[in-house]
């Protein structure tokens, strides 16, 4: 299996502050890659560079086969993105949001209509087709946002703290959707600070102060750090952090 993300020495500086400090890693096709770190460790900045909305200050990388320094617009064709702040249009209806993003990714009109029906059916969401997004409960919004992010069948989907603020039952449902997507061959790149979620990932990296301090399968990480859970591993590494938010 090939790598869909390869990153070498990726760096982002804001003035004197180095948000992301020479990180290197690979993500393999079809895997669920957990990207962990405390608040302010530089996760969001790193994701933004991978998605082509933030210019790297140094280093190289390829996402979906394209250079992150030079071919950001090509990368965008092949990825989906859902951010920690919920980001569908609140003043558009459910179907209108789906239609808009389908259209933006160049899907033909007919296909959008068919896939919208299919999606709403699968989510058991048909009754909400005409609901304004702002009146949906948070968990539902996030499920919808994830579905919209993979609506155009991207190679990779980036999820930036997708389950922030929702209840455990909803989180489980959400992870079922993630597994579902992974089974369909979509690579999932996910950040979270729920450590139980980290256990669901194929591999996990942990960022501390802009650097990647650990990268392996959850099982290996627990073994290396001689910990009972990912939570323990994380606490041990994060304690070394010098950066204060």
């Amino acid at each position: 299996m090939g790598s869909v993300i390869e990153v070498k020495e990726l760096t982002k500086r804001f003035g004197n502050f180095t948000a992301v400090d020479r990180i290197s890693f690979d993500v393999k096709e079809g895997e669920i890659f957990g990207f962990l770190g405390a608040n302010g460790a530089g996760k969001t900045t790193a994701i933004q560079m991978l998605c082509g909305i933030s210019k790297p200050s140094g280093g190289t990388g390829r996402v979906a086969g394209y250079d992150i320094n030079k071919e950001s617009e090509r990368i965008k064709r092949n990825i989906g993105y859902m951010s920690q702040r919920f980001s569908l249009y609140e003043d558009l209806r459910v179907w209108e949001n789906i239609r808009l993003f389908g259209g933006i990714y160049g899907l033909p009109e007919k296909m959008i209509a068919e896939k919208t029906n299919e999606l709403l059916e699968r989510l058991d969401f048909e009754s909400e087709r005409n609901t304004m997004v702002k009146s949906l409960p948070l968990g539902w919004k996030q499920k919808l946002a994830f579905s919209v992010a993979i609506f155009h069948e991207p190679k990779i989907v980036f999820l930036d703290e997708p389950t922030g603020g929702v209840d455990p039952a909803m989180r489980r449902q959400f992870w079922e959707m993630i597994y579902d997507a992974a089974e369909r061959g979509i690579t999932v790149f996910v950040t979270t600070h729920y450590m139980d979620e980290a256990e669901y990932c194929d591999r996990v990296s942990i960022m501390v102060d802009g650097r990647i301090d650990a990268l392996d399968t959850p099982k290996e990480l627990r073994r290396i750090h001689n910990a009972a859970s990912m939570d323990e591993v994380f606490t041990r590494l994060a304690r070394q952090a010098k950066r204060v938010e």
């Binding site: 933004q48 998605c51 909305i53 210019k55 990825i79 702040r85 569908l88 239609r99 808009l100 993003f101």
Partner: protein, 378 residues
């Protein structure tokens, strides 16, 4: 290109879900045109005067009567002394005091001359100046009348033969606005204000709102092209601008009977080019702003400057060179002068071509800038 359809659809839906915007397009131009053209006038009348007549003679009485009869003045009162009148001025009840000395009648009969005191509230300099000029005219008129009467009465006085002047009749003719109606001059200016407020403020608040809501992120990670995204944002504002413009033109016709002396198409065409450029300015402001509040203040700041430095209220030729330079890079200036020319002077498309060319240049420049300043990647 196909993506444009989806984006425009989105913008229109969002815009018309806000009921304020639909109301604004109709009521804003109507209200502005109904009220504000009446507020602007350089005519000074209804100047309120107190006459303090110390002499109470018949000649003094005639001066008071003349003041009362004048269309420029309103005789407020004839108080016994200057202090009472001054208090009235301090209370803001009068604008001018005329003081007639107690020797007035006697002086006129004896010396054939006298003097009248005038005190004018000149906080507003131009009103003060005009008011005192009108009053001086009244006094001079009286002076001529009395001269004729007295010279005729005193038959022994030598009536000077008036030296003959070269005979020349002066005829004045007013073109383009023969009734000298200031409203007709201002209405095209108000069209420009309406368009600037609608098509300047609304787009300025648009992109920055997407920033505040975080939706801009979602757009930035898609492969959508900058130019299409911005164009889709602009087209709805062009549409509402055009609708508001048509409403404004109709209101001006229905209420004031004002219809362009030149071609309506020239009016519409120049309006459209202006709408395009001012919406571009709005988007630029939005691109550079971080919060909605910031964008709002920035756009108000610019609008106040471009309205004041456009020749709308005050002539550009009386501005200093640096202000004239700013006025010459102000799209507002060009539309105001174009509309006034086409409406009142009946100028043709060719007559206003330089203005239109400038407006077209601005719309290219500003919209190009609007696209370039939108950064999909930080």
């Amino acid at each position: 290109m196909k993506v444009l359809k989806f984006l425009i659809e989105k913008e229109f839906k969002q815009m018309f879900r806000n009921p304020l915007i639909a109301n604004l397009i109709v009521f804003f131009p109507t209200m502005v045109l109904l009220v504000f053209p009446w507020t602007i006038t350089f005519e000074v009348n209804n100047i309120r005067v107190d006459v303090v007549d110390h002499g109470k003679g018949s000649y003094a009485r005639r001066l008071t009567d003349k003041v009362e009869a004048s269309p420029y003045f309103i005789l407020n009162d004839t108080p016994p002394d200057y202090e009472t009148a001054m208090q009235a001025m301090e209370r803001g009840e009068i604008d001018m005091i005329v003081e007639i000395p107690h020797t007035f009648d006697r002086d006129i009969v004896k010396q054939q001359s006298s003097r009248v005191g005038l005190a004018v509230n000149s906080v507003n300099g131009s009103v003060g100046l005009l008011g005192s000029n009108y009053m001086i005219q009244i006094v001079n008129d009286l002076s001529k009348e009395l001269a004729n009467e007295l010279l005729h009465k005193t038959s022994h006085a030598k009536i000077q033969a008036l030296p003959s002047l070269p005979r020349l009749t002066i005829e004045q003719r007013y073109r383009f606005n023969p009734q000298m109606d200031y409203k007709l001059f201002m209405i095209p200016g108000f069209f420009v204000i309406i368009l600037t407020i609608l098509c300047g403020i609304l787009p300025a608040l648009n992109i920055v709102l997407e920033k505040e809501n975080g939706t801009i992120h979602q757009i930035n990670v898609t492969p959508v092209q900058k130019a299409w995204f911005i164009l889709a944002k602009l087209i709805p504002y062009w549409t509402i601008g055009l609708i508001a413009f048509i409403i404004a033109i109709s209101v001006a016709y229905l209420i004031y009977g004002l219809w362009p002396a030149g071609s309506i198409f020239t009016v519409l065409f120049s309006g459209i080019v202006f709408i395009i450029s001012v919406s571009g300015m709005g988007i630029i402001i939005s691109n550079y702003s971080e919060t909605l509040q910031q964008a709002a203040f920035l756009v108000i700041f610019f609008i106040l400057i471009i309205i004041l430095l456009s020749g709308m209220f005050t002539p550009i030729s009386s501005m200093p060179v640096w202000a004239q330079a700013i006025a010459s890079i102000n799209p507002f200036t060009y539309l105001t002068s174009t509309l006034r020319m086409v409406y009142l002077n009946g100028s043709s498309l060719a007559d206003v071509s330089t203005n239109l060319l400038m407006l077209a240049l601005f719309s290219l420049l500003l919209n190009g800038w609007a696209v370039l300043s939108y950064k999909k990647r930080g």
